[in-house]
Amino acid sequence: MLSLFSRDIRLNIRAGGGALTGVIFFLAVIATIPFGVGPDLKLLARIGPAILWIGALLACLLGLDRLFQADREDGSLDLLVLGHDRHMLALTVLVKCVAHWAGSVLPLVVAAPLLGLFMNMEPLAIGATALTLLVGTPAITFIGAVGAAVAVALPRGGLLISVLVLPLTIPVLIFGVSASYGATANPDPFLQPFLILAALTMFLGVLGPTAAALALRHGTD
């Protein structure tokens, strides 16, 4: 399993990987917002956490279609499916998700504080947003894995995956953003939405890979 993780990380970093694509897309979204909204610093600071979350969510969905498709095209997916008795397929999918998250989504979380400066956010709000992104984005990857597994046989399934997955990620977005606001706006709570966010990640960490494994087992042709 560790070998699968390190293989996927290496593939992500080397040529053809999507590690930088997501970050650049994230940067493009966040950098254009102040031009569109105008130079109202207070407004930017207020919408900052929400914009960061939306940008990160969309950037997360960007590379998802390659999660299983690359393995399917070169035949590795067959062997991963056949290895079910040795390594449970759901576990294999979980490892692939974690590797995908560490390779393509973690850079977004690292870039978020820098991009928060573009939005004139306070240090506390930046910290809270980065923390909620760190806890919440794995849930998006786990949901996305289901979409990627269902659409694995479709040659250009990228957009379809985004459309399939986006409605399911809305709860993650809502609790992520409300926890980020809870850290700065005084009457709003931080801990409750944050804990629900963590619970969502853990719940989807089990449900997502299991459902994706089921889809992959029945999707081979």
Partner: protein
Amino acid sequence: MRLIAENLGGERGGEPVFSGIGFALEAGQALVVTGPNGSGKSTLLRVVAGLLPKMQGRLLLEGGGDEFPSIASACHYLGHQNAMKTALSVAENLRFWRAFQGEGRLDVEEALETVGLGGIGHLPFGYLSTGQRRRAAIAKLLVSHRPLWLLDEPTAGLDKASEGRFAGLMRGYCAEGGMIVAATHLPLGLEGAELRMGETG
């Protein structure tokens, strides 16, 4: 160990491709599946591996024990694709499959020597020619042990010398008690039962 198929039928996209296929394979035996294009050779192999659901019939692996409870866990499946990543080096690819599928008798370097690719393990897989890629995929069969090889056109793209070397490899594997089911339309240099498809079905 025995691999038994009875009255096996398979389909592709709802269309039956073959039916009524039966064979029994003892340890050390090979089965060469021949037939014209579209007769269902690849489908048969994928059904045996468990990658496609069987339409009818029975598939059974006897004597696998705890280590190989199912055909899927007991087989190496070599399909049309090589299941190697072009961005990684040959040795990295093989090391990954060795770690993932369990260790075999040969290590990565020895396996590459055996298929005549010694000394190029450091090259990215994408730099290799078609025949070299196929040989690297054959080396993948050697780095982890499985009692059954399912080979789909294993010699596609190989030159004469490599074909001969691979035939020797397969004979050696059978002599050690391995089972082979190979789909091909080229002579493999392998003694074993022949299953003709597209005529019986």
